[in-house]
Symmetry: C2
Amino acid sequence: QDIMATNQRHADANRRHFREHGIFVVNLVSSPGSGKTSLLVRTVTALRGEMPLAVIEGDQQTELDAERIRAAGAPSWQINTGRACHLDAHMVGHALEHLPPLDGGILFIENVGNLVCPAGFDLGEAHKVVILSVTEGDDKPLKYPHMFHAADLMLVNKIDLLPHVSCDMTRILAGAKQVNPRIRAMPVSATTGDGLDAWLAWLRRGHGEAK
Amino acid sequence: QDIMATNQRHADANRRHFREHGIFVVNLVSSPGSGKTSLLVRTVTALRGEMPLAVIEGDQQTELDAERIRAAGAPSWQINTGRACHLDAHMVGHALEHLPPLDGGILFIENVGNLVCPAGFDLGEAHKVVILSVTEGDDKPLKYPHMFHAADLMLVNKIDLLPHVSCDMTRILAGAKQVNPRIRAMPVSATTGDGLDAWLAWLRRGHGEAK
Ligand SMILES: Nc1nc2c(ncn2[C@@H]2O[C@H](COP(=O)(O)OP(=O)(O)OP(=O)(O)O)[C@@H](O)[C@H]2O)c(=O)[nH]1
Ligand SMILES: Nc1nc2c(ncn2[C@@H]2O[C@H](COP(=O)(O)OP(=O)(O)OP(=O)(O)O)[C@@H](O)[C@H]2O)c(=O)[nH]1
Ligand SMILES: [Mg+2]
Ligand SMILES: [Mg+2]
Ligand SMILES: [Zn+2]
Ligand SMILES: [Zn+2]
């Protein structure tokens, strides 16, 4: 598969660049509408001023997500993928040219909403973080295993809606551990702010190690 | 693109088979967890006995969805796609061999949860029906336009949760109409049963025409 080999070459080049400049890079993946942008808006608002921040956005069309990030006070570059269902390392490499220097900072990459294809594409990130909304049901780790296997951290979002949906958190955690024993899990709500402290602590730790 | 030409040949063969046997075929597409299976369970329960019914299920892994359909009283065949992010016409053709004859009936195909790739693959169906959950946000038709352009009907599901989420139905409808002026829209809830009558009437009409 030439595509994967080419992608890996670009990903390795990205990773070298990130390492040389002490940039901590996180690739956020999920189904459409799980809350990636909402969480990023909360995150950049909380971390602004602590270290350089930027967000690369990936969507089939529109600038909507990058506009939400810029309104929260962080630079953001929007990639429109057209018919493509995932970001690749080549796109990310070029997006860097449109962002300010991030030496000693954090780069977030919000991937296209898709619980399948982005699992297979290394972008040069330190970690994939998968976001699962409780509204999607508790069987997703078992039904879409490749993504949960590829992620180091799972944020279970929209926990404020738990009283209104039939979703078993224990089943989510058991399924995720079954497909990926090393995955860590954190319950959060981008709307209420619940659980964000643990997420910010995880980011600060990764950032500290990358510098 | 050889893949698309091969797929189209299989889709045309499927469509000929469906037409010769008077089978009304609907391809259900959505993000993961929008409620495809929940709606199908309600649907087969309501239509059972009126005409022959069957469901082809598509997921990366597990038999979970086909088991839910069989428990509701309709035959179902589960396709596990592995790393593939969508069903194709070749898979659907083979799945038919595992189902009872459906002459004069309705075949539902529940595609892999993915708001991107299934838009490009004809399976031989009469209609693509896209399901959008109000919990995913109201910007999806604009951000994932190809799928809403490819669908003839949009079911806006989980309307029972509207009081608990920030989602503007008018924006959903305007976005869908912008990318596809001919799309029809129906608000439904698979949990409460709201709006299902209009969906069942649409199915009965299509079934009547196909026979
Ligand atoms: N109740 C509740 N709603 C949330 C939460 N997080 C996000 N939402 C809502 O979920 C919808 C989608 O949120 P987004 O942040 O746009 O999701 P996304 O993953 O970035 O979506 P895409 O980029 O299109 O894939 C919006 O209506 C948000 O208001 C949460 O914690 N609780
Ligand atoms: N509140 C509410 N929850 C719903 C509704 N429809 C489905 N759900 C819930 O949404 C979750 C996912 O439902 P499924 O029917 O499994 O969704 P799906 O689209 O088939 O999911 P995949 O096949 O994995 O892509 C489950 O927890 C359901 O209980 C609805 O109308 N209202
Ligand atoms: Mg987003
Ligand atoms: Mg399903
Ligand atoms: Zn794909
Ligand atoms: Zn695909």
